[in-house]
């Protein structure tokens, strides 16, 4: 009896299996990469109510981060500057600028400026700015080269594995206390450079337990 199926059909299961495997791996890789915070969150660059340029303020003018974000050393949350801080300068500089209309409106009407949050840890993760600063972690480690950004974007994934990588080995990210806000400081200098004026660098011992961040 003649064979109904030609000989090559014997290979169909194998080919099918290979295809399925290929698609499965592609799907996994796809989700792995495109579903991770490294893809979903890094590069998030929302439009802000005022086109505030960090490049101009922190980069070109060289203002210290803490002129505006003045509570970072005291509070778990890094504060955004109140309108009054902006008006310290912009009461005079660019007093008629069109770009600053929302700012002047805020000042005049006593209404807050609704900035869009860029860097966000989940609600169940309790991040504390103050303690990271005191441990010698610079702004740049988590926020990137803010001084080069016209509009702020997220440059690090801020995922748990990313946090833990540093918590397990914090020293490469640590810097002397007076270089916290310095965007041009090179982390490679450590540990040759002293962290503080004291001879022994402060032991930081960051928590790696769940209880460190989740309450």
């Amino acid at each position: 009896m003649a064979q109904i199926f030609p000989r090559w059909t014997n290979k169909i299961p194998l080919i099918a299996a290979l295809f399925i495997l290929f698609f499965a791996l592609t799907a996994i890789a796809f989700v792995w990469y495109f579903g991770s915070p490294r893809y979903t969150d890094v590069g998030y660059r929302p439009q802000q109510p005022i086109e505030f340029s960090h490049k101009l303020h922190a980069g070109d003018l060289g203002m210290d981060c803490r002129y505006c974000h003045y509570n970072i050393e005291r509070s778990p949350t890094a504060n955004l500057p109140p309108t009054s801080v902006c008006m310290n300068c912009h009461g005079i500089i660019g007093a008629n600028s069109e770009k600053l209309i929302p700012l002047r409106d805020s000042w005049k009407n006593n209404s807050a400026i609704p900035w869009v949050r860029v860097h966000k840890t989940p609600d169940y993760a309790y991040f504390n700015h103050a303690v990271h600063l005191s441990a010698g972690i610079g702004c740049q480690s988590c926020h990137g080269r803010i001084d080069r950004m016209e509009r702020v974007m997220q440059s690090q994934p801020l995922s748990m594995s990313w946090c833990l990588a540093c918590h397990r080995n914090p020293d490469p990210q640590r810097r002397p206390a007076d270089k916290i806000t310095d965007m041009n400081w090179k982390p490679t200098v450590f540990p040759n450079e002293k962290l503080t004026s004291e001879s022994e660098p402060k032991k930081v011992n960051p928590p790696t337990d769940c209880t460190g961040c989740h309450r």
Binding site: T40, N71, P81, P82, A112, W115, Y124, Y126, V131
Partner: protein, 1011 residues
């Protein structure tokens, strides 16, 4: 700052979506009569307003759903809202603490309130204030829930319709002017009692303006009897304050001084201090308790005599007889007790001898339910027993309005006679809590102008012409004097959420006709109190919470009036021998007199003794239950002189035979969604002649059954030595008795033991000798850790969420049992059984010995709860916080995750507080010091029974407690190695009153009996 404010508004439910401004009226009303009419009879109701058809609704919804689905892929846009001008001293993210004062009748409590960016989230005692010394009770802790209660009255109401303050202002101006003309004739204010300089001045001013008007205070539960008794003895109403910390022998005459009496927080702290069982010294106190109810004070007693409250007076006379025989010379003529009551006479003899032998260290206190005569005699005895060591201080109340039943009754007579045309009810709910025979609603029906000022639109508001919403004490300026004479200011923590006015503002308006700013009124009073540099000292008072110059108004008691008083023979020594049972009324540990009925935390807090939640069954002793053939949940009909109430019973061992204990404060009908219809309104049984106890009550079993919900049933740990107790003598000869009580083979672990390499090793010790079972820890924990309530049905299914519960056990005979308390939070076992069974590693150990719960990993298998021998894990069967009103969300502690459905939770040792302390220690480059971290339960505990700290530091307080010989671990034989351990309970009975078996520890006795 940092408030969430999603501009692309997310919605979770159709309801939420429909309630937004843009999409009003889209909610389907498919099953309402209106839509039925519309569908079947088109044209019948054309003008029924905007109506969206089912079809257009569905199309709108499907489009929205599709959009919502797409939006779900993006991360939600979150806004950060900075200040325009930052308030001084506010650092967003860092909580602030303000001192204020909570007025509570004649008492007041100095508090520290934690606020997060302007919203108060947690109340704590003020360490420097003598009224609390940093401690708290459940009412104080739960009062923050009242602040945010969405059921609080929010509008001025005029004859049932919404009005506003300006309408009331012009109305009151007219009434004010009318009464100005008639010198206040027919004008009366019935308020709650107060102890406040400002209110005192305003009341004076009111009575000066209207010389013929009345302003009296009525309180359903008050210290009036005590004040009248002391007045009889000394000529002036003064409030006694006892130094339990210096007393060696204490006799309580129906006096629940650890629970319901005035000054309970301070009493409890002092009592625990003198009760420390030292092996060497003889300092441990001994408490004799004579009471009808089985109170938490009775549970602490070394000797307890169950006696109907009406017989306490005779008991006291018998005791005086006994003391006379011991040559205690009494200045006044006191009759002998000629009626003998059936009880162990030896008890009185031994007690008299013990009191006499411990002269200068012996203290007698009587409860507020006892008649003035008892208090007068107690005053006398205390002064004779303590001639040198003044254990009782008598405090004058110069700023107080003392509740006055006589004045109240005579005013009610005037009201009934139609002499009162304007009645103002200030912060009082008389329609609910006035004695039944007065029939308040009927009595005031003829009063033309009835104005009610209160926190809720309650029973009294409903029968008033005007209802005015009261501001919460955390929203108002005010002041108060604590019972020990410390004057303090109450400052607002938040602007009134619901537009209420404060008591001070209303009182000023009553006195002056015009509304006035509360801040100005209080400052004006304080200009008279602060002697020099006003601004500086005023700011200091606000900062400290009290005026440090306050001199306690201690009176030097002079008992000359007592002789005259006793000569008139005020004794009721021929008590009602009417047959029948005795009814005794107690205040509710959950709702007080009903005022806290809408606070779900308190409703769900199990009663310390019965462990009942959400109810107030009548309590009867075991013997009476046998006689009447009653068991828990059986309905009875109680008939008190014609007033009949049907309510369920619960058998409570230790209640005096023939006594029915009735808890007040339930059965509210107009308080709010939480409290309406919960329990039974027992005020209907109360009569004005005998408000606290009454004889000759008839009881009949109705045959009905009622579902009582009790938390103890499903937390039974029967048959094992859980609470370990011994007598002082036995403890002296066997200091290690507690740890020796359980014998077990060497403990070997099957599991890999956790590495405990952290810088700190956290641990806790709970001293069972101090714990009075009050439940302050439970409420403090609930407030700190965002713990939801589950309601009566939830508790009935065993779903209550309390992270720390207080177990109550009885031991000994059913008629005179011992009551024992044991707080049980998560034990943080080093070899935690829960961790072994979690399939997703949602509960793991950290290096500092904490048993951590990772909510985000939890998939809700509940294996951990099943494997926990202590049953301390709690499961979120529903998303309890989802439907929470907006105002209640403001109460949540932002430092603690709000848990969702399907997640297990349990005590974390207040990990947020540990982390806060560790972070500030790290910033300052130091170690966390001992005592820097207080868990919420530890902070609130009025007896300081809970100690938390680093057990790796041998100098820490917790390590010292752990090395106490009384230290033992609960179920240590399971090799769980719990981090929480207990100190055994020690009793100090009088050797003259014990049989020899009492020298054996508690559980050994049980063993012997059962074998």
């Amino acid at each position: 700052m940092m408030k969430k404010n999603n501009q692309d508004r997310q919605w979770r439910s159709f309801r939420e979506f429909a309630e937004s401004g843009n999409n009003a009226h889209v909610e389907p009303s498919e099953f309402s009569d209106e839509s039925f009419l519309k569908e079947h009879f088109p044209g019948a109701i054309e003008s029924a307003g905007d109506f969206v058809s089912r079809r257009s609704f569905l199309s709108l919804m499907s489009a929205s759903l599709a959009l919502a689905g797409l939006a779900g892929c993006r991360r939600p846009v979150e806004k950060i809202i900075p200040y325009v001008i930052p308030p001084e001293e506010v650092i967003p993210g860092v909580p602030q603490y303000y001192a204020t004062t909570m007025p509570f009748g004649l008492q007041s409590f100095g508090l520290i309130v934690e606020t997060h960016e302007g919203r108060p989230t947690k109340i704590e005692g003020n360490k420097d204030h003598p009224s609390t010394r940093g401690l708290a009770d459940p009412f104080i802790l739960a009062s923050i829930l009242e602040l945010y209660d969405p059921d609080r009255s929010q509008k001025v109401m005029n004859n049932g319709s919404v009005s506003d303050w300006s309408d009331f202002d012009s109305y009151w101006k007219i009434i004010f002017d009318t009464h100005l003309a008639d010198r206040g004739k027919g004008l009366a204010v019935i308020g709650s009692s107060f102890n406040s300089p400002t209110l005192h001045h305003l009341r004076r001013r009111f009575l000066d303006t209207f010389p013929e008007a009345h302003w009296i205070a009525y309180e359903p539960i008050s210290d009036e009897n005590i004040l009248r008794g002391v007045e009889a003895a000394t000529g002036e109403p003064q409030l006694p304050e006892y130094s339990f910390d210096r007393a060696r022998i204490i006799l309580s005459l129906d006096c629940d001084f650890l629970g319901s009496e005035t000054g309970a927080i301070k009493n409890a702290a002092n009592f625990a201090r003198s009760r420390y069982p030292d092996i060497e010294s003889n300092a441990m106190n001994r408490l004799y308790c004579v009471e009808g109810n089985h109170s938490i004070t009775g549970a602490m007693a070394d000797h307890r005599l169950a006696l109907p409250p009406s017989k306490v007076e005779i008991f006291l006379l018998m005791l005086i007889d006994g003391l006379k025989r011991l040559d205690l010379s009494l200045p006044a003529k006191i009759p002998s007790a000629d009626i003998t009551i059936e009880f162990d006479r030896k008890f009185v003899e031994v007690l008299a001898a013990d009191l006499f032998a411990n002269k200068n260290h012996a203290l007698i206190c009587a409860g507020k339910t006892q008649p003035p005569t008892v208090h007068a005699l107690v005053c006398l005895l205390n002064s004779l027993l303590n001639p040198e060591n003044e254990l009782v201080r008598y405090n004058r109340l110069p700023y107080a309005l003392i509740p006055d039943t006589v004045a109240f009754n005579s005013l009610m007579t005037q009201i009934k006679a139609g002499h009162i045309s304007t009645l103002i009810m200030l912060d009082t709910n008389l329609a609910y809590c006035a004695p039944a025979d007065i029939d308040f609603a009927q009595a005031v029906a003829g009063v033309r102008n009835k104005i009610h000022f209160g926190t809720y639109y309650d029973e009294t508001a409903a029968l008033s012409n005007w209802h005015l919403p009261a501001a919460h004490y955390l929203e108002s300026w005010g002041d108060a004097v604590s019972i020990d004479g410390v004057r303090s200011v109450a400052q607002p923590l938040i602007a009134p959420l619901y537009g209420g006015r404060s008591v001070v503002e209303i009182a000023a308006q009553l006195a002056a006709g015009q509304p006035e700013n509360g801040y100005e009124i209080v400052r004006r009073t304080w200009r008279g109190i602060i002697e020099d540099s006003f601004e500086f000292n005023w700011r200091k008072v606000l900062h400290d919470g009290f005026y440090s110059e306050s001199t306690p108004n201690v009176a030097r008691p002079d008992f000359t009036p007592l002789g005259k008083y006793l000569a008139a023979e005020p004794f009721s020594s021929a008590p009602d021998i009417r047959h029948g049972l005795e009814l005794t009324f107690i205040q509710s540990p959950s709702t007080y007199d009903g005022r806290y009925a809408n606070l779900s935390w308190l409703q769900e807090l199990p009663d310390p003794v019965t462990k009942i939640t959400w109810d107030n069954p009548a309590r009867i002793g075991a013997a009476l239950a046998r006689n009447l053939d009653l068991r828990d949940g059986d309905m009875i009909a109680v008939n008190n002189q014609g007033a009949v109430l049907e309510l369920p019973i619960i058998v409570t061992p230790g209640i005096a035979d023939g006594v029915i204990v009735i808890e007040l404060g339930y059965g509210r009908t107009a308080v709010g969604r939480v409290g309406n219809g919960v329990g039974f309104n027992t005020f209907r049984l109360r009569r004005s002649q005998d408000p606290y106890f009454v004889n000759g009550v008839a009881v009949a079993k109705t045959g009905g059954r009622y579902k009582l919900v009790c938390t103890q049933e499903h937390h039974s740990m029967k048959g094992r030595p859980l609470i370990r107790q011994a007598d002082l003598a036995y403890f002296r000869s066997h200091p290690e008795f507690a740890s020796e009580m359980v014998e077990h083979p060497p403990l070997k672990s099957l599991w890999k033991e956790p590495e405990l390499t952290g810088d700190y090793q956290w641990g806790m010790v709970i001293d069972l000798n101090s714990c009075i079972g009050c439940g302050a820890c439970t409420i403090a924990c609930q407030s700190e850790n965002n713990i939801p309530v589950v309601g009566k049905e939830g508790v009935a299914r065993g779903r209550e969420m309390h992270w720390i519960r207080v177990d109550r056990y009885f031991s000994g005979s059913a008629d005179s049992p011992d009551m024992l308390f044991m707080p049980v939070p998560c034990q943080h076992c080093e070899n935690a059984p829960c961790e072994q069974v979690c399939p997703v590693q949602a509960t793991v150990h950290d290096h500092e010995g904490l048993n951590a719960m990772v909510y985000n990993r939890c998939v809700g298998t509940r294996y951990c709860s099943n494997n926990c021998p202590y049953k301390v894990r709690r499961f979120n069967f529903f998303n309890y916080t989802k439907s929470m009103p907006e105002t209640l969300k403001m109460l949540q502690n932002p430092d603690v995750t709000v848990r969702s459905r399907g997640v297990m939770e349990k005590c974390t040792y207040c990990i947020q507080r540990i982390n806060r302390a560790k972070i500030s220690a790290k910033i300052e480059n130091r170690r966390v010091s001992d005592g820097e971290i207080l868990t919420a339960c530890q902070q609130a505990c009025p007896t300081n029974a809970i100690t938390f700290g680093d057990i790796s530091d041998s100098a820490s307080r917790v390590s010292k407690m752990k090395s106490d010989p009384r230290n033992y671990e609960l179920l240590a034989e399971l090799n769980n190695r719990p981090r929480t351990s207990y100190l055994a309970r020690i009793k100090n009975p009088n050797p003259a009153l014990v049989d020899n078996h009492d020298t054996i520890p508690l559980q050994r006795q049980d063993e012997r009996k059962s074998s």
